[in-house]
């Protein structure tokens, strides 16, 4: 196959302009030599303290008490702050729906997800802060948890917030056109149910915050690797109870990836800033990976039912969306934006005039959701493009014909969708045709036919996707009713800012409020501005750090919604052009020609008609500094120009809830061939083709880089990645050994194709491109896998075990006499049973079970047993296997006593590594001069050890439970018959 080289990166004819060329990045030299300046690379103010967070091991529990006395006495500890301390200094974060619900960055009386902050330790270094955090004792009273969004809706579901009438935070219905009539009249009604999982684009650099508080001026100074949107600045200053001008928020020069995720650092800005205020010192916090995976932020998981009214020829006449969005435990700003970001383009690339929508936003006992690359797109397109495949299958059509037959016509742009988006430009039919031709679809089909003829599993999948970019800051208000919106006042637009300045020697500097995380903004801006001034990119120096105290910025500032190329780069062009126009006036007067005769080229400003009549750019550019009196009176100065640009197309939602949720809409057509190994069920991507129309391409190398990066993340979402939770809300993927990011061995080179239909609405004709493959790739792969195995319903991630369940027939029966223990479906609950012959009569064993001294000898790792009552004991134990050991407080209770025949032994343990509880029924049956001890237990384990040791947990728990019963048998049997008993026990515990 092709090596994935893109057409656009192949060396094109050198053009007159810098824009459009893959010049080397100005960012790279420092990053390649270890001289990057990421937040944890920067020095801090002398005396800065370090924070560590104690987090909840429970998905849902009341906090009955926190004892931090021992922690406060720890070496180097400056303070231990709880929710109560933080609340005294801050206000609740604002919530995006109208409800009497608060949203705090730290729990105080109740925890609602595993990983929710419970206390902050501030100490001289991170090591000592973690030492002290281990010493904090929290008394949790667990509550039932709910993790599934549909279960959360059920009337008897455990409630998370008292301020919501149920776990439904918002329930809105929308109607566009006449969907009821369309459904009634249609030849076919075809629907699909989708569960889109939780995942995250997980940057390799974690969150970081350094905060300082000046009590004299009541002002905060915060450095954070925050990515925007800076509308959050308003949320932060309000939470910190200062006016905006007393919260100086700065970003470091480099940020190690974000993909939306670093928007989610903002609650920690409040926490660390408040901590700095509480201790009167500068405080630094760098999130660790376990914290990040457990509790930073996640994309939403969503349950969707999508129905289509379909004509006999496959034409889609109407859609009916029923989306249940799971935002986790708190509705953090800007949620429920994930659900509304795609509202204008819910019809995808298709011309569908009738749409019904029901959007419900649900809270569950999981980490709060937030920005993530693709933001709402993966969830929507997985439903829509799976439905298109189903329509084709149902009607016996080729999926490609269903796609082609429904696309927005090429002559219809700009096209207003039923739900309000204004699709700016495109030619979807042409993109499809080129993708099929240049991507080699015919060859792929031949390979599928050959593979199938040979009995192999091979499938082809398609996805046609509209990729929105430059979000309308007003789209989120679509969650409000028109009446609520009238009351709140309109919100709309997408202010981009750029400043171009010229110094006294005439060199040009550019500043934008774009906060990149590796996208190469500085390089592209140098190209854009160099073109305007006739300079080279090396002549332009660009700064993309943000300092809210000094820079031009607005609520839309930051790096999200693929807004850079379309909005920010265009605004820099406008700012440069304004200066250039003034420079032209000055040059015209100095060269004695008309302003429209001025050209900027080759570092000179010259007459077009008489190129010899010229001035060096730098000399002209310096005039405003050195000789302002010589400027023509109408020229103005040329020292600095700041442009704020917001497109007029981004209006507020109208009375009919129509919303143009984004400014630009690129188009993507993907297809791929996937073979699935019949033995291992591992999918192998044979070829992946992705055709993009993102308008004008500013830097082909970077555009392809965005596509490949999004593709790899989309592939991860399709095949590997899930933030997994147990039914009790325990979090199961706390390490990179459990949350599986694709590596070089899993990610092939995609074949990238381009066409360029400029956007009429952006200064450079560019559209966003960074998020598209996160939207198109999961469903394209899903469609191919479904095609390969002939499955109608598939769920991501498509792990081999999931595919096995779809592909394999009944399993060969176990050999006679062997029974298999079934685990509770998908459960974290551990069950087991076994029996042993013990060399003692039942009454002896009975007496032992009720004796604290025996219990001390029998409970693994027991240091002490305290008798609370005849049937209640408290123990201090060290439990573990191999090197993994932790100290726990254990409670042992005896109930359902039937002396000397049976007893139920209940136990719970609680410690820094997590908690466990279990119950075992022990029965004693006399057998000759001995006793058969039979036990059956269930156990559940949660907390840190479940998050990071899940793979080993069940086996480890069995080792410990075995230790208990082995010791009991040994203690009772007095050590006789050791060999035989051992062997028997071991055999038993191996389930044979």
């Amino acid at each position: 196959m092709s090596d994935g080289m893109s057409q656009a990166t192949a060396d094109a004819e050198p053009t007159q302009t810098w824009v459009g060329r893959s010049i080397p990045r100005v960012e790279d030299a420092a990053l390649l030599t270890g001289r990057g300046r990421f937040i944890d690379d920067l020095g801090v103010r002398a005396g800065t303290l370090h924070a560590a967070l104690l987090r909840s091991p429970h998905a849902h529990a009341d906090i009955a008490g926190i004892n931090s006395e021992a922690a406060k006495r720890g070496p180097g500890v400056a303070a231990v702050l709880t929710g109560t301390d933080i609340k005294a200094l801050t206000s609740s974060l604002v919530v995006g729906v109208k409800a009497p619900v608060e949203c705090w960055p730290i729990a105080s009386d109740r925890v609602r997800y595993v990983g929710e902050p419970v206390a902050i330790v501030v100490a001289s270094d991170r090591y000592r802060a973690e030492d002290a955090a281990d010493l904090i004792e929290v008394d949790y009273r667990p509550r039932p948890a709910v993790v599934d969004p549909l279960a959360a809706i059920a009337p008897d579901a455990p409630l998370l917030h008292d301020g919501f009438p149920s776990n439904v935070a918002s329930d809105r219905r929308f109607r566009y056109g006449d969907p009821e009539a369309a459904f009634a009249a249609a030849a076919h009604r075809i629907s699909i149910d989708i569960r889109y999982p939780r995942n995250s684009c997980t940057p390799i650099e974690t969150y970081g915050v350094v905060a300082d508080y000046d009590a004299a001026e009541d002002a905060y100074d915060v450095l954070a690797n925050f990515q925007g949107p800076f509308s959050i600045h308003a949320v932060l200053s309000r939470a910190l109870r200062v006016p905006g001008n007393r919260l100086r928020l700065r970003t470091p020069p480099d940020s190690g990836g974000s993909f939306g995720v670093k928007q989610g650092v903002f609650p920690y800005i409040v926490l660390i800033a408040a901590a700095a205020r509480a201790v009167g010192r500068s405080v630094k916090w760098i999130e660790d990976r376990l914290e990040h995976l457990t509790a930073s932020v996640s994309a939403t998981n969503r349950a969707t039912t999508l129905r289509a009214a379909v004509a006999a020829d496959g034409r889609i006449l109407a859609l009916d969306w029923d989306q249940v969005e799971d935002c986790g435990a708190h509705l953090r700003a800007p949620e429920p934006a994930t659900l509304y970001r795609m509202h204008g383009n819910l019809t995808g690339a298709y011309d569908i005039r009738h749409v019904a929508v029901r959007n419900r936003v649900v809270v569950t006992n999981k980490t709060p959701s937030g920005l993530n690359r693709g933001f709402g797109g993966p969830q929507v397109y997985f439903a829509l493009e799976r439905l298109v495949q189903r329509i084709a299958l149902t009607l016996g059509l080729d999926p490609l014909d269903v796609i082609a037959g429904n696309l927005v016509p090429a002559d219809a742009f700009p096209y207003r969708t039923a739900t309000g988006a204004l699709l700016d430009s495109g030619n979807y039919q042409e993109a499809l045709a080129r993708g099929i031709r240049d991507g080699g679809l015919a060859e792929l089909k031949a390979r599928r036919a050959a593979a199938r003829a040979a009995g192999r599993l091979y499938g082809i999948g398609y996805a046609a996707v509209v990729e929105p970019s430059v979000s309308n800051m007003g789209y989120i208000t679509t969650v409000l009713t028109p009446a609520e919106r009238r009351k709140a006042g309109p919100k709309n637009g997408a202010q981009a800012t750029a400043t171009v300045s010229i110094d006294p020697v005439g060199s040009v500097a550019v500043h934008v409020a774009s906060a990149p995380q590796g996208q190469g903004h500085r390089t592209v801006l140098s190209q854009v501005v160099a073109d305007v001034f006739g300079l080279t990119p090396a002549d332009i120096r660009v700064n993309t750090e943000i300092d809210t105290a000094k820079d031009a910025w607005s609520i839309a500032s930051g790096n999200y919604a693929s807004r850079f190329a379309a909005a920010v780069a265009g605004t820099a062009k406008l700012a440069a052009e304004r200066l250039a126009a003034r420079l032209a006036r000055i040059a015209a007067s100095q060269l004695n020609i008309a302003a429209d005769d001025i050209a900027f080229a080759g570092g000179m400003v010259r007459s077009r008609r008489n190129p010899d009549n010229a001035l060096p750019f730098s000399r002209l550019a310096a005039v405003s500094h050195w000789a302002p009196a010589t400027l023509p009176s109408d020229a103005g100065t040329t020292i600095r120009e700041t442009v704020f640009w917001t497109p007029p197309e981004l209006t507020a939602p109208d009375e009919q809830d129509r919303i143009n949720s984004s400014l630009c809409y690129g188009f993507i057509f993907d297809f791929c061939g996937i073979e699935i190994d019949r033995t291992t069920l591992q999918p192998r991507i044979d070829r992946y083709v992705t055709m993009h129309d993102c308008g004008t391409i500013l830097h082909p190398g970077m555009v392809d880089g965005q596509i490949r990066g999004g593709f790899a993340q989309g592939l991860g979402a399709a095949l590997y990645e899930e933030y997994a939770y147990g039914p009790d809300g325990s979090y199961l993927t706390g390490t990179f050994a459990d949350y599986l990011l694709p590596t070089t061995a899993e990610v092939p080179a995609p074949v990238i194709l381009h066409m360029q239909t400029p956007s009429p609405f952006t200064p450079l004709g560019a559209k966003g491109v960074g998020e598209g493959n996160c939207m198109s790739t999961p469903v394209c792969i899903g469609n191919a896998v479904a095609d390969a195995i002939g499955a109608s319903d598939i769920e991501l991630p498509l792990s081999p075990a999931r595919l096995a369940a779809l592909v394999r027939g009944p399993e060969p029966a176990p050999p006679a006499g062997l029974t298999i223990e079934a685990m509770a479906a998908g459960g974290r609950e551990l069950r087991g049973e076994g029996s042993a012959i013990v060399n003692a009569v039942p009454v002896q064993i009975w007496a032992m079970l009720l004796n604290p001294e025996t219990l001390k000898a029998v409970i693994p790792g027991c240091h002490s047993v305290q008798k609370i009552s005849d049937t209640h004991f408290r123990a201090d134990v060290t439990l573990g296997i191999g090197p993994v050991k932790g100290r726990y407080r254990a409670e042992v209770t005896l109930s359902d006593l039937d002396p000397p025949r049976a007893v139920t032994l209940g136990g719970s343990a609680d410690g820094a590594l997590g908690f466990g509880q279990g119950e075992g029924r022990i029965t004693l049956t006399p057998e000759r001069d001995a006793t058969r001890l039979h036990y059956a237990y269930t156990a559940a384990i949660g907390g840190k050890v479940a998050s990071i040791g899940g793979r080993l947990l069940d086996g480890a728990a069995r080792v410990i439970i075995r230790q208990f019963f082995t010791a009991l048998a040994r203690e009772a049997g007095g050590g006789t018959r050791r060999g035989g008993l051992w062997a028997k026990l071991r055999a038993l515990f191996r389930r044979r």
Binding site: D131, D288, R289, S799, P800, P815, L818, I881, L952
Partner: protein, 270 residues
């Protein structure tokens, strides 16, 4: 994610290490390559009082090939064994399986004996030790013993090593028998969902499986074919007591044992 405090002992000789072990017992941990232990220290899953670094003990840095056994000292890193010129000839199975252990960046530090001491049920080295009827050479201040692999592993990360013992070496039966290795993991370099090693034995094939039970398991299969082989493999697959976890179902694991087992046995017997 920073370790809790501990004393660090840099042992220059075996006796020094054994003295500290005898004194500190279960409060001490041996650190060699640290590729399994260090993550546990960082996550505070393990909080030993003393860490005994054995990597400067000269006598541990040895591979001995004598009397049909290859003995690998506790200081030998996985990458060193992989680069041993005689590996393919003397330990053909290890040459096949060792590249599946972690990544180049962890094999360059991780030791052979350390992986066996850690006894992860999905790790390749314990599996290969069992398949090759290897032995673990344990040493304490008081005694020295050699435990056959099948007796060494007792459960999930559990072994018969006593608190005052360390592994001074492991030894493999050397030979040129036919063998095969195959592993299925979610991603390249991940812990195995199922790993299978097969070695020709006197009467048939010894098949060892990792990643399924709480420890690696081996069974000797006589020369079988067709339905008889299927039945035997099916019995083995069920006996392993597979469980569902995040990465694979019990059923899928049994399917893999049946399928890979058949492939490997056929390959070794052909």
């Amino acid at each position: 994610m920073k370790p809790a405090p501990f004393d660090y002992v840099r042992a220059e000789s075996l006796d020094e290490a054994l003295d500290v072990l005898a004194r500190e017992g279960g409060d001490a941990r041996i650190i060699a390559g640290g590729q399994s232990l260090m993550p546990m220290l960082n996550m505070r899953l393990a909080k030993p009082k003393v860490l005994i670094d054995i990597m400067r003990i000269g006598e541990f840095a040895r591979i001995d090939d004598a009397n049909d056994r290859v003995t690998i000292g506790a200081g030998i890193r996985q990458a060193t064994l992989l680069a041993w010129p005689d590996l393919k000839r003397r330990l053909a199975l290890v040459a096949l399986g060792l590249p599946w252990t972690g990544h180049a960046q962890t094999r360059s530090r991780g030791t052979v004996c350390g992986s066996i001491a850690h006894a992860d049920p999905s790790a390749e080295l314990p599996l290969m030790l069992l398949a090759l009827s290897g032995a673990v050479h344990l040493r304490s201040r008081k005694h020295r013993r050699r435990v056959p692999a099948q007796d060494f592993f007792t459960g999930m990360m559990a072994t018969t090593r006593a608190d005052d013992e360390l592994i001074e070496a492991v030894s493999f039966q050397a030979g040129t028998e036919r063998c095969a290795f195959r592993e299925v993991a979610r991603r390249h370099g991940d812990f195995a969902i199922v790993a299978c090693a097969a070695v020709a034995s006197g009467h048939g094939v010894r098949l060892a499986v990792g990643g399924v039970a709480d420890m690696p398991a081996a069974r000797d299969f006589p020369r079988l074919a067709g339905a008889a082989l299927d039945d035997a493999l099916n019995g083995f697959a069920y006996d392993l007591g597979a469980r569902d976890d995040l990465h694979a179902s019990a059923r899928h694991r049994r399917d893999l044992v049946r399928a890979l087992g058949r492939e490997l046995i056929t390959e070794v017997l052909s």
